[in-house]
Subunit: 139 residues, 2 copies
């Protein structure tokens, strides 16, 4: 019955830095920000949720009396974003122009390429095309 | 240039338990397993990557000499899966039948519902429809 991933979460220590990085440098569409707790972005048919782990892991919250379960992790998480194969080089150049250090560029056995970099909190980010996994709908 | 999220990662401590839970109980389509390091599932137009954090956070690996950056976190991560609104109740019942404890059911201000539970590693999982975020393509 599961048809996709609706929410992907990463944890950061500086929400202002995350808002700037994901919104202005990666160009994601901001959906909402909740104080120092979270900033949410719409990405295609899903959401990227960035949480201040110190807050979200400790404070239970409720909606109409229903518990929103706590979560939150420490250490580098990982997310890959889909970019059309033909635009990978352009996006890598845009990241470099914006001062983002490219940690690695990997060419996989099937010919797909991944470009790796970090967000300000140290999470491992990647841009790649669906070709990496044989997912063709994006290219 | 980013059109979607291609890879979502969670970290677990028992890869066999994760493989059983995500494959047999949640019914995700397994893509690959790499020893005690990782098990990957295809979910819609993306991939869910489950890593043994102790291994993936410490061991650098290379593809044709190119570094695959390390990552790995400790603590509960979070992923929400997309399920059609009409099938949420059915899926909740299937989870309960399979012995999965439902941690909370939340009705959001816009009427969307979220069903929360945990994977064997303690990650916070959620099933909800795209209605939660005004994403209509699934329903």
């Amino acid at each position: 019955m599961i048809t996709g991933i609706l929410e992907t979460a990463l944890y950061v220590n500086d929400l202002d830095a995350a808002e700037h990085f994901y919104g202005n440098i990666l160009g994601l569409e901001q959906y909402s920000r909740l104080g120092d707790r979270s900033v949410f972005f719409r990405v295609g048919a899903g959401m990227l949720l960035l949480f201040n782990a110190e807050i979200t892991a400790k404070i239970e919250s409720y909606i109409n009396g229903d518990l929103i379960p706590v979560h939150g992790s420490v250490g580098a998480g990982h997310v890959a974003f889909t970019v059309a194969e033909a635009e990978l080089v352009t996006m890598q150049a845009a990241l470099e122009t914006a001062g983002v250090e490219i940690e690695s560029v990997v060419t996989w056995p099937n010919g797909a390429k991944s470009v790796y970099f970090r967000d300000p909190a140290g999470n491992s980010l990647e841009i790649a095309s669906g070709k990496l996994w044989g997912i063709d709908i994006y290219d």
